[in-house]
Symmetry: C2
Subunit: 189 residues, 2 copies
């Protein structure tokens, strides 16, 4: 796990072995089985999760009782409910494992301490937050500009094995279309 | 201008006078008249702008030729097209002054150098990018959850003088409603 973290960190900023070790020490390995919740609506989001292995989804339940998937999280992604984690307010969202999932977790307080001890982490999180910001703006753009069919192909082309790993009804929820319409799109490929 | 920057920076992180001076030195004061463009579609977004005084909007022109406003930027906000600035790709958006506007501008290269010289800036931009991320998620949430009327009141209640400073047709574009419908909402207040 440490090697995977090391490789990930050094994609963005050059960390020494000592810095990686210091960071690794404040991360807590956790395991979630398929369908386990990492966070439920109404709870405080206490942790940021670095996904070592597995797949999670972040979603909410709308006024009509339907699940609306906001994002998926895969290996080498940080997953959290940013709003609840930063503001320490109760979550409006659920985070759930879709596969058996191994993560490295860090609390807000430990992350703040790590920023003080390892200033390069500020740079890392500044860069990945900027990237997340661009990704969410692009997702909004895709929604306005492209058809469901184009958005489906954009999704499966960018994330290998995605269509195999994620149940169809979840992909439909993420794309905001019915499972029947998704099935039609897939047949026409 | 330096005092305003100083006050702004110290809202988030404690900067020394020397650090504020070092940062101020790499910022370039620029003035835009009402209706001037800070950025046009197809151009590279070279600068991040800290707004000292004035008001700008960031918008795109959709396939039907309609203006779609994504955000407004006021005093003490950083404004840029993040996607174009970070990836150094041509902008899909316009940034335009709605009032006569004074800014402090910084290029990507100078910002990178400033991060190296003044590590606390990494923390500042990590924090404000996280806040921006939360703001954009909240805006998406508002769109899904609330009526145009509620979104209008949320906007004018959170930003004082907003309804006086921004032309009605721009507020309508931002809320994705017709100017006629906005006028109805305002009458019913």
């Amino acid at each position: 796990m440490k090697q995977q973290l090391h490789n990930y960190l050094n994609r963005y900023v050059s960390f020494s072995e000592t810095e990686v070790d210091m960071f690794y020490e404040v991360l807590t390995p956790k395991t979630f089985n398929k369908k386990d919740y990492l966070l439920k609506e109404g709870e405080l989001c206490k942790d940021k999760y670095f996904i070592i292995e597995g797949l999670v989804r972040i979603y909410k339940i709308d006024a009509k009782g339907n699940e609306k998937i906001a994002h998926f999280g895969l290996e080498n992604w940080w997953m959290t409910n940013m709003e609840s984690f930063i503001l320490q307010e109760p979550s409006l969202l659920y985070i759930q494992a879709i596969e058996n999932t191994k993560v490295l977790a860090i609390s807000k307080m430990n992350l703040e301490l790590a920023f003080q001890k390892i200033p390069k982490l500020e740079r890392l999180f500044r860069i990945i937050t900027e990237n997340m910001f661009v990704a969410i703006e692009r997702k909004n753009e895709l929604y306005m500009k492209y058809s469901s069919k184009e958005r489906y192909h954009n999704l499966v082309d960018h994330i290998p094995d995605f269509a195999q790993r994620v149940p169809q009804y979840m992909i439909a929820s993420y794309l905001d279309i019915t499972p029947e319409y998704l099935s039609e799109i897939r047949k026409k490929k």
